[in-house]
């Protein structure tokens, strides 16, 4: 910790990428939730979440994804997770979220899925 960071970046065609660094636990999840809420308020519903620098996630972190994906999909968007580390992927598996969320190591394919191209 000491190093929890969230960065957002507008990619092409209405896709926004969120890069998280550090860990997503019951202390830090709210900042992630806030970031997503801000994007939703700006009508950004096509999100790629880059998890490559996330070392750890607990249910509080996973809960942000669960709480947000419905609204994203209702607005013609989605939330795609890219490059989770094995320990992070394991938590999605334990919660049965790997069937619900698209998880990929490839940013290009994530963008294609979101823009439908």
């Amino acid at each position: 910790m000491g190093d929890f960071q969230i960065n957002t970046q507008k990619l092409s065609e209405g896709v926004t990428s969120i890069s998280i660094k550090g860990f997503l636990d019951a202390y830090t999840y709210s900042e992630f939730e806030q970031t997503i809420n801000n994007l939703f308020n700006q009508k950004q519903y096509k999100l790629v979440v880059d998890m490559s620098n996330v070392d750890y996630i607990s249910s509080a972190g996973a809960g942000v994804f669960i709480g947000a994906i419905g609204l994203a999909q209702e607005n013609n968007g989605n939330i795609i997770i890219i490059r989770p580390k094995p320990g992070v992927k394991e938590v999605f598996d334990l919660l049965g979220l790997s069937q619900i969320f698209t998880i990929t190591n490839n940013l290009e394919s994530a963008i294609k899925t979101l823009t439908g191209k």
């Binding site: 607990s58 709480g67 994906i69 334990l94």
Partner: protein
Amino acid sequence: MGDDSRENTLRKQEPDKNKHHDRLTISSDLKLLYLVRQFVVNFMRQIALPADYENRIVLAVDEAVSNIIEHAYESKADGYIDIQITRDKKQISFSITDWGKPFNPNKVKKPDIAKSIKSGTKGGLGIFLMKQIMDEVKYTFKSGQNHLYLVKYLTL
């Protein structure tokens, strides 16, 4: 006196390689969860547990402690949480004590993730994960103390 007490300390504190027991009492602050995880990781590395146990067990304990802070202590940092880890031949067990609001686990429903996604709410995931990961999860409330007892059987 400095030298005398150091000599005593030496004998008392000498690490006992055969005793796998560790204890942390920490204030109830979500900011400190990373230290709790560090403590659990540290214990597991000392006993050389296979790495695939590590992530899950840390997660289960984190969920337990997060719940205590958020619910038993209502996110106030002025409570304490006592965490004891014991590694026996066949299992690793966690005895977690708090002095917050009593908790009745029977009130907790299983999470319905499909429904959570529809309603945009979430919750109930922590206890679900704890039960997924651990082989035993027991709560008791006695003389003002909540005790949570988590056990993972080791098949090494």
